[in-house]
Amino acid sequence: MFETLKAQFILNFIKDDRWMFMWIGLRTTLLVTVLALLIGTLLGTIFAVIRSMHDQLKPNRRDSAGALLLIVLNTLTKVYLTVIRGTPVVVQLLIMYYIIFGASTNKLLAAVLCFGLNSAAYVAESIRGGIMSIDSGQMEAGRSLGLDYFTVMRFVIIPQAIKNILPALGNELITLLKETSIAGFIGLTDITRGAEIIRGTTYSAFMPLLGAAVIYLAMVMLLSLLLSRLERRLSLSDRG
């Protein structure tokens, strides 16, 4: 039994340096996840601010040019969120690569953009919920000091909102990490695809797929640990 496993391990990972496929895959997975996370958080925050600014718009101030622009932006954002959340991410990836990128050589960029734009839609609704949960007195206090809306958002509202929704954002990051396993659909060598390449060469499924699963699991567990540490540190200001 042990001898068989050992032979399998050597065949799938050691021989011909096949572990390199997993290593290249791991680097791609991490790169795509990190870049997509950046795009997703940045865009998601912008979408969330547009949505909550619109929701907080007072009825008697809907006539100005700024308000009109906001209504248009809000409608566009809502359409975007509906489309992204209403279609499978695999289809989005294929559309991004084959239609928008015209099957060009830059697979990495296509994947990063696709996952980033996808993640933004989910992050946006989480952050919006976080923003709406902050007491309106916070914005009023900031504005009463003569600070403009965006300054109060940046230094007061968004930090509190993010802290409140950190568990949800953490889950989104974990989902994103695992979601990148479909990058192989456009021929990008991520961990899953790396395992598939090995499987295709050695005709043995057990080791490569188990290896891929273990790597994902280890990363997710590490992320969970880091997130719970971060949460604990951020909640320092809450202790009475």
Binding site: K58, N60, S144, L145, G146, D148, T151, F155, K163, D238
Partner: protein, 241 residues
């Protein structure tokens, strides 16, 4: 200093403020009293446009602030506001609460803002709380810090919206002392409160509001001793002075 002209405010179809005209002069300490729902907080919140008037104008230092195109942030920097629920920023330390606005609005460089913030904390005898988060403070401490936060902008007028209503009784005194001190230094202030004794002590003028109107106003001595209007009499008979 502040001139309110025919101010009316609707919340939906409910008329909260009904055609109020009022002038508040420099150095005055105007105390607004009245039953709940009389519009006194809304009146105060209109003065720095936290509530937009439905109609009417408000002038501050010669600028019509209700006009479109007024730089409202510039105006608000000159009008400090203190809230019933303190509204300190829980994600920032006490000192950061004090320095955020002067630094971000480029009134002071960081270093000087910190020095001034520490001086403010000395003034309320809380310098050891500079690096504490607000959640660790008592209500009275929070409100005193909130007052200092507003003062960091060197406002010309201070607006107080029931500053002691959310406090435990034994903490009311320390907050009122700070306000009293400020009044003695000549700060112009508009104060909405239920503390009648304090109104009498610091007010130079009492406004009594009911149903969105100013029903009666006078100096505290005359107002509390000889109220003219029936509604004022009935209100005063129900509150402890």
């Amino acid at each position: 200093m502040i001139e309110v002209n025919q101010l009316t405010k609707f919340f939906g179809s409910h008329k909260v403020l009904d055609n109020i005209s009022e002038t508040i002069g420099e150095g005055e300490k105007v105390v607004v009293i009245g039953p709940s729902g009389s519009g006194k907080s809304t009146f105060l919140r209109c003065l720095n446009l936290l509530e937009r008037p439905t109609s009417g104008t408000i002038q501050f230092d010669g600028t019509v602030i209700t006009e479109k195109g007024t730089d409202i942030n510039q105006i608000r920097r000159q009008m400090g506001m203190v809230f019933q629920l303190f509204n300190l920023f829980p994600n920032l330390t006490v000192l950061e609460n004090l320095t955020l606005a002067p630094v971000q609005s480029k009134l002071l460089p960081v270093k000087e803002a910190r020095e001034e913030g520490m001086a403010m904390l000395e003034r309320i005898r809380l310098p050891d709380k500079a690096h504490t988060y607000p959640s660790r403070l008592s209500g009275g401490q929070k409100q005193r810090i909130a007052i200092m936060r507003a003062l960091m902008m060197h406002p010309k007028v201070m607006l107080f919206d029931e500053p002691t209503s959310a406090l435990d009784p034994e903490m009311v005194g320390e907050v009122l002392d700070v306000i009293k001190e400020l009044a003695d230094q000549g700060m112009t202030m508009v104060l909405v409160t239920h503390e009648m004794g304090f109104a009498k002590e610091v007010g130079t003028r009492i406004l009594f509001m009911d149903e969105g109107k100013i029903i009666e106003q006078n100096t505290p001595e005359v107002f509390f001793a000889n109220p003219v209007e029936e509604r004022t009499q009935s209100f005063l008979s129900k509150v402890l002075i």
